[in-house]
């Protein structure tokens, strides 16, 4: 069964040694290939920890992770995923082009092949012409596009994103959301996306995994059945608001679900 899943998370728990904090408890989740799954939840629900466990950047205390049919550790060593963080993590001493080429250099691609791929990636994130700039010469949104280009440069099947647009202003964020969906369609990769924003999660995802804190666990999984491809109009679709409300209710805890207020609305 895990052979069919892009990511398979089985009874994963994580306890941090300091203070016996249970960050994650018995998480079970399967992500199918080409899915766009968002993890959403309040601070301390362990969503970033779960993303890092999938990326083998943190070891789980117990449980099993399968990525692309391998253990998370093997998947990391095989460079099976690309990752984007909240800060772009670009290296100031490298130009935009050489930042994008970094994973290719490390994978041993020759110069000509690297240059060709960097050109394609710059086109993909619409930054052609900026290849010889340095990161500090770019705006926050442009830096994050470079980070996405770098994460996808070696065509990983899986893209892990940890609040990639969290530090950007609302307008840049919406533009990059639309751009990310286009890139997702064009590359056909699977995305695991961590966010604080309900609207962002609903707009982007095929499924939204709502998590609750202390201990971190999955509260609810909301299928997002909005039509693809999604556009600016999607945000005005009544169904979009219904789903936003559904995710919000799930976030505010099971006890609130089916509250009188919601019944009246129905």
């Amino acid at each position: 069964m895990s052979g069919a899943a892009a990511v398979s998370i089985r009874r994963v728990s994580k306890t941090f040694a300091a203070g016996d904090v249970v960050a994650l408890q018995e998480i079970d989740l399967d992500i199918r290939p080409r899915e766009f799954v968002s993890l959403i939840g309040p601070s301390g629900c362990g969503k970033s920890t779960l993303l890092r466990i999938v990326g083998d950047l943190i070891r789980p205390s117990s449980g099993e992770i399968v990525v692309n049919g391998k253990s998370a550790h093997e998947a990391r060593l095989d460079r099976d995923y690309g990752i984007v963080f909240q800060d772009a993590v670009l290296y100031d001493w490298r130009t935009v082009a050489r930042n994008i080429a970094l994973p290719l250099e490390m994978a041993g691609w020759d110069r000509a092949r690297r240059a060709e791929r960097v050109r394609e990636m710059l086109e993909l994130v619409e930054l052609t012409g900026f290849e010889s700039r340095h990161p500090w010469q770019l705006s926050g949104g442009m830096q994050q596009r470079v980070a996405i280009a770098r994460a996808l440069s070696f065509s990983p099947a899986l893209l892990l994103m940890d609040e990639p647009f969290g530090a950007l202003d609302e307008m840049t964020r919406e533009r990059l959301n639309a751009e990310l969906l286009r890139i997702w369609r064009e590359t056909g990769c699977t995305v695991l996306f961590v966010t604080h924003s309900i609207a962002e999660a609903v707009f982007l995802s095929t499924r939204v995994v709502v998590m609750s804190p202390r201990p971190g666990r999955i509260a609810e999984i909301v299928e997002i059945d909005l039509a693809q491809p999604r556009t600016g109009d999607t945000r005005e679709d009544p169904r979009f608001f219904e789903l936003v409300t559904e995710v919000r209710e799930a976030l505010h805890g099971g006890s609130d679900r089916g509250s009188p207020r919601l019944r009246v609305a129905e």
Binding site: R76, L77, Y81, G82, I83, F85, Q86, V89, D92, M106
Partner: protein, 272 residues
């Protein structure tokens, strides 16, 4: 950003003019203070063994330029040797301490405490160890003076890397060595260069002071001492001038290397 590229020659001219405008205030201050010095020494009739006039110092410098320059270069070689030894040792030590953090935790408090020892007071001792005439006795003083600032700064540069930077490298299956090569070492360069600039000046000071406690007749420090003993104060001042010029030149060379190797760094860019 507007990127209207002007003709190359025009840009060079513009840059030279801008540079000249940047330096003009400093040049005015230099000329004014030399004039003030000259005027006050004459007006207050200060004895020449207390403070000679700038013109007298320049005259002494010109008359003994060959001896002074060869003495200066002799001392500069000692400073350079000490700089090379001290900085190499410091950078290697920083790499080891950054790689094995626990070792760093165990050793750094003592390194910082040792830094408080007035190293120059050891000059008579190193003269004893290596011999008065052996340049190594001065190099060791210069090397020890250079060691600590370079160690502390390099270590900070190697370790002050954002955790996400390291996570990104690990996501590419990078090992420790590759993380050093691609992230920690480039990240440390601005820190290393500011330490090297400090060390360049310290190396010259270390060498000259080491010579005060005895050394070859060719050395600048020895010449300063014997000139004052013979009441040739203009010569002593001229020798100090030579030492300063060499120290400044050394500093500028390192600043130039910094600019060339770190064109990428925001701090090395002028607003253009």
């Amino acid at each position: 950003m507007t990127l209207v590229a002007p003709v190359a020659g025009e840009r060079l001219l513009g840059r030279t003019l801008r540079r000249a405008r940047d330096w003009a205030p400093a040049a005015v201050v230099l000329v004014l203070s030399l004039a003030l010095w000259q005027g006050l020494v004459a007006a207050l009739e200060i004895e020449r063994f207390l403070l000679p006039r700038p013109t007298q110092i320049l005259k002494a410098f010109w008359e003994q330029r060959d001896t002074l320059w060869s003495a200066g270069l002799f001392t500069f070689r000692e400073a350079l040797g000490g700089f090379a030894i001290g900085c190499t040792a410091a950078i290697l030590a920083a790499l080891v301490l950054a790689r094995w953090r626990r070792l760093g935790g165990a050793l750094m408090p003592y390194a910082i405490a040792a830094n408080a020892v007035p190293i120059i007071a050891f000059a008579p001792i190193t003269n004893q160890w290596f011999g008065l005439l052996n340049p190594l006795s001065k190099m060791v003083i210069a090397a020890i003076l250079c060691f600590f600032p370079v160690l502390v700064n390099t270590l900070r540069g190697l370790t002050s890397v954002r955790p996400s930077s390291i996570e990104l490298m690990r996501s590419y299956a990078a090992g420790e060595l590759e993380i050093f090569r691609r992230v920690r070492i480039p990240n440390s360069l601005p820190y290393v260069f500011s330490a090297l600039k400090v060390a360049s000046v310290l190396a010259m000071i270390g060498a000259v002071v080491g010579e005060f406690f005895g050394g070859s007749q060719e050395a600048l420090g020895v010449q300063i001492r014997s000139a004052t003993a013979l009441f040739q104060f203009e010569t002593a001042w001229a020798a100090i001038l030579v030492a300063s010029l060499l120290g400044i030149a050394f500093y500028l060379v390192i600043a130039l290397v910094e600019r060339l190797t770190m064109g990428w760094h925001p701090s090395t860019r002028t607003a253009d």
